[in-house]
Symmetry: C2
Subunit: 674 residues, 2 copies
């Protein structure tokens, strides 16, 4: 069975239409859709007709979609795209759209699927690419084979800017990782790849004009200019903009080993190996700094056709400027009263350079200063309030604060955050200035082996938040669709699906099943990686664990349903609590380093499982527990979520147990009944 | 726990020395080894001292080994290699060895590990690389952490030529696949990568002199010359020779779309899409053919520093030569009586060209002809007898016939075949001419997504066959070590370990666990891939299945132990037969295309499981079954292994059930007792 077995089971068992979820397994959910009971059969006779505008980008996009269908079908299809309006799939595009993907691209499309034909209509090629992804998500299977579910869809994004930041400075990610990330983004209709290419820990782009940047700042891991052109073209083929970030004047230590003259202070400088905010900072008082940046933007800007250029601008440590007497002298001479004002002066010069090369600046919150050019875009990493403040001042902005996916939060937590919350006090006009959002994948704790598991499948839910109407916010339905979406993402070569099993096999020897099972119930602490510096291999259990293990998705929601009397939910929790209860004894005595890492969370899980089972009993018996039990249960819940957690892993299911304990506690005590 | 949990458990439970298997978890097993109870602790203080010859290749090899240790330890180690003879690991190499890896390279090494130090001594850098792999396989873990097991090892290969052929013509494999394959080969001490670069279905090398080769013969999937240099250097760093094969004069259809003048007959020519032996064949009667080949070998030979060049020479279809009147005329004029003689004439000219460019020919059996130069090496794909015949004629040879890993045979079957069987009638001198062997990974049914699962872990056992003494031939012990070796290979990025699960997730939707479980008991038919031509996506259950599923390794061996009264073996079979018995009903009614592919084997497995359980009962009860039962059981076994199997999968466990039925049948009948 393919993808939607749950769905297919329902279809087989009952009349079709009433049973189909309104959102099918689509992610993101379209702006408007009606599901019908039509089934358009997919077999080797499938033909594609292009009846409107056509170009190689459109044809390549269709070929990728057809190849994925072939993979699901197990057999080849004719890859000949006729102009036949009677073909199985007819694609009618009005025109090319922008020459390179643009903020103002029209991404809307209409898709109509009946028993005989699928018709996809769009104003631009990018719109058609978005529609093709939807069509692929309409594919399902029954005993007769594969089909597209009948539907009438009119779709367009809620926000124009739907991005992912990937930090390749703290840890480098090879081109193959970038490409499969772009494939995943395209599947869930994201349109901005924000490439964080330099920071204190590494400079990742080849400059021909300033080759010492990569020679002294990259540990020989950087992208050649050919590779960058290749990635930019690959992204453009998928309707994705690529915005490079070169963070200045702070977070720039890696520029200075090759070009110490750019820095404030005498040096020597080196690539930073640990994490944080460092002293080395560009010298904004020297003309030579701007001459260098002018040359740099001139050279590197040509590699990135997007009209935006991200200057970073965050977390400037004032120490270097304060310690440098010539900088302090310069500030006095130019009546610059503070280091913040000095950064503003730096930005002003930088914006002139960007303007000269046709680039509009994007920067983090800290660039929101009086002299900021009106065209600039502010990326809020601090809070939604910061975003609102800049919108009120008339600046365009994008929200990242609630979407830091290096934080090991659950999918539901990210999904709940809206760039424009229902209670926003922004005017309609100000709301227009909120362009969208970006998820941020910071690189301190990721390697090419772990990065997929840190991005996916959680990013798919964030992508939906940016694309779909605000009213699409049911976490249960999101998780139901995420299970299917996660497998579909694997079709693209993404490796999140086997992450934990693969990593555990490397550390757990013949105890693989036990540790795999444990990581169904244990999540990484904090940022989900081992090691305080860049040299760690990231091969421990914390690296094998994932933030939101699919086996225990939304246990709190299940607990709520169990308390409400849902028998399936009760059975699910029983099984999970039984598994949790067993970990402590199963781990005991294993002569293995992994055991030491696992022991603290195993103990917590065993206690939580026991309390969870007991609370479930009280609820089912409708009998209140006594005060001693309640005190004990509260203490187990409290120790499972301490202020300073022990070890590298934290237990799943704390919220579920807390809910059950509270429900048990709220039961009428038998002693009080007359 | 790392890797050897079984072993570590034994260590924890009982005095050490007596319990350690003589072969530990080493693969290949060294020529001579003594295990001690010493444990050399591995922690962050680990230092490496190089006290003899040193060069960048040696240092890179040590760095790779240290990085793997870091991955196991979870923390970084100092990567500074001193000259200190008191370091934790001391490496003493006498000299560089050959400038490029050579057939005559000295790969021997000695390794001594005690409580304080590991000492690795070798004549060459390649010998040291081999020894480092052994050292990494001596790593184990206990409650105190990681350690190297104490041992005294003297090791050298039994055969000089230990190779893998990879066919990248039928399906292209990108450089990343090639590199991780080379990593795996290095781990199990193989030393020849035979790169089958052209065949009827694709020409995979960039020629600057004859660019129409790749432009018209490759579907744009070929290796650039930079990529080839990169792969050759990568292999050399691991002590692996790279031997290119350009198959001529047959199997050469892909040369002709770009250069039809090379072919016999008028054309037109195209890339072949199906599998087999095709008519298009080079024209051996034109001088221009040899001029072309001279230019080609001159250009491409420079990319491959190895002194051998593989000319193919197999399966020449005489049709094109017979149909071409000018060729027939030429043959008459030159008194060439047969097409076989014409191929010999072609080879003779080709060998002259090779000699001019400093290359010695290797070719398949068919080149064994009267005029073959004495230096040539014959690769026997037909049989061990063919190899023996050429050895008797004084030619060096390598054996491939029993090592075709595209055949979906079990690891034990490959492991049992020896290049020099114990009953060989070759003299000692003739035996010296048998240089070794090569496993052949033909490319008809593999893609970049499946190739690892088709090569690994089976190749590790073949590598042992080529390296270790002939006396190392216990299949039980091989499987015990293979389980650990397979996980160690994953450390290198090879993807066989999660193959079935990953592939099944793409075709089985929410029924993933059922189909995964099924593929513990079902093996691919024939060559293990779906599709009669090059265009198939290879995404079906047959592609997800593997030839020797680890969950059911060596069921026949387990059955033999069960019959002998081993209780563990009985329990193992019970569990397996119970699982087998359930498949038919569990699959019934699933509305999925995968169900159709799975149904035939599920039915066979269910019947086999039932008969297996019943046979086990008779054996345990020591009661003979009646004739009706025996007839039924025989028929179940027979239908499970039919001449023309149904579907794409065949059941595991047929041999085990057959053994049990025979054992039951041999029991004394209660009726016959007085």
């Amino acid at each position: 069975m393919r993808f939607t077995a749950l769905l297919a089971g329902v279809i087989a068992a009952a009349p079709l239409r009433a049973q189909l979820p309104a959102t099918l397994t689509l992610m993101p959910v379209p702006a408007s859709m009606t599901v019908t009971d039509a089934r358009l059969r997919i077999d080797s006779t499938l033909a594609v007709g292009i009846t409107g505008y056509r170009d190689p980008r459109l044809e390549r996009g269709i070929t990728r979609a057809v190849a994925r269908l072939e993979g699901r079908l197990g057999t080849p299809l004719a890859r000949v795209y006729t102009g036949n309006a009677g073909a199985t799939i007819v694609i009618r595009v009005a025109g090319r759209g922008f020459a390179v993907p643009d903020l103002d691209e029209d991404e809307s499309y209409q898709l109509s699927v009946n028993d005989r034909q699928a018709t996809l209509t769009a104003a631009t090629v990018v719109g058609a690419l978005r529609g093709l992804e939807t069509l692929l998500q309409l594919q399902d299977a029954d005993a007769s084979g594969l089909f597209f579910q009948g539907a009438e869809i009119r779709d367009a994004p809620r926000f124009r800017w739907r991005g992912l930041l990937l930090d390749v400075s703290r840890h480098f990610e090879p081109v193959e990782v970038i490409k499969r990330t772009l494939d995943g983004m395209a599947m869930v209709k994201m349109n901005v790849f924000h490439w964080h290419l330099s920071d204190d820990q590494g400079f990742r782009v080849q400059s021909l004009k300033y080759p010492r940047l990569q020679e002294f700042g990259s540990d020989s891991t950087f992208y050649t200019q050919d590779e960058i052109r290749d990635v930019v073209a690959y992204a453009a083929d998928r309707g994705i903009r690529v915005i490079p970030e070169f963070d200045v004047p702070g977070h720039s230590s890696s520029w200075f080993p090759g070009y110490p003259e750019l820095a404030s202070g005498p040096g020597p400088f080196q690539i930073e190996r640990t994490w944080g905010v460092f002293v080395p900072t560009m010298d904004p008082t020297k003309e030579s700094t701007y001459k260098f940046l002018d040359g740099f933007v001139g050279e590197i800007g040509a590699l990135f056709p997007d009209r935006y250029w991200h200057i970073g601008g965050d977390e400037v440590n004032p120490t270097a400027w304060r310690q440098d007497s010539s900088i302090q002298q310069w500030m006095r001479k130019h009546h610059i009263a503070s280091e913040a004002a000095l950064q503003t002066a730096f930005n002003k010069r930088l914006f002139e350079i960007l303007g000269k090369h046709g680039k509009t600046p994007v920067g983090w919150d800290e660039i929101f200063q009086p002299d900021l050019p009106r065209a600039a875009v502010i990326q809020s990493w601090r809070s939604s309030d910061a975003l609102a403040a800049s919108a009120k001042a008339g600046f365009q902005g994008i929200l990242s604060a609630p979407y830091y996916i290096d934080h090991q939060k659950t999918t539901a937590e990210f999904y709940a955050a809206d760039p424009l919350p229902a209670n926003t006090d922004l005017t309609a006009q100000q709301q227009q200035l909120v362009l969208g959002g970006e998820a941020c994948m910071w690189g301190e704790y990721i390697t090419p082996q772990t990065v997929d598991s840190r991005i996916w499948p959680r990013l798919a839910a964030i992508a939906e938040r940016f694309w779909s109407p605000a009213s699409v916010n049911d976490a249960d339905d999101m998780y139901r669709r995420l299970a299917v979406t996660s497998r579909r993402l694997e079709e693209l070569g993404l490796r999140h699906g086997d992450h934990t099993a693969r990593m555990v096999r490397r550390v757990a020897g013949d105890s693989v099943p036990l540790f795999e099972s444990l990581l169904d119930f244990a999540r990484p602490l904090d940022f989900g990686g081992s090691g305080p510096n860049q040299l760690y291999p990231h091969t421990r259990l914390i690296d094998a664990a994932v933030a939101d293990p699919p086996a225990t998705w939304d246990m709190a929601g299940v607990a709520r349903r169990a308390i409400a009397g849902n028998a399936t939910a009760v059975a699910t929790l029983r099984t999970q609590f039984d598994r949790m209860t067993g970990f402590e004894s199963r781990l005991a005595g294993l002569p293995a380093p992994a055991e030491a890492e696992a022991a603290p969370v195993a103990i917590l899980l065993s206690r939580l499982g026991r309390v969870g089972n007991e609370a479930l009993n009280f609820t089912l018996w409708k009998t209140a527990p006594n005060a001693t039990w309640i005190a004990g249960a509260d203490s187990v819940v409290a120790e499972a979520q301490p202020r300073r957690p022990v070890g590298t892993l934290r237990p799943v299911g704390v919220d579920a147990v807390r809910l059950l304990v509270a429900a048990a506690q709220a039961l009428p005590s038998p002693r009080r009944t007359p």
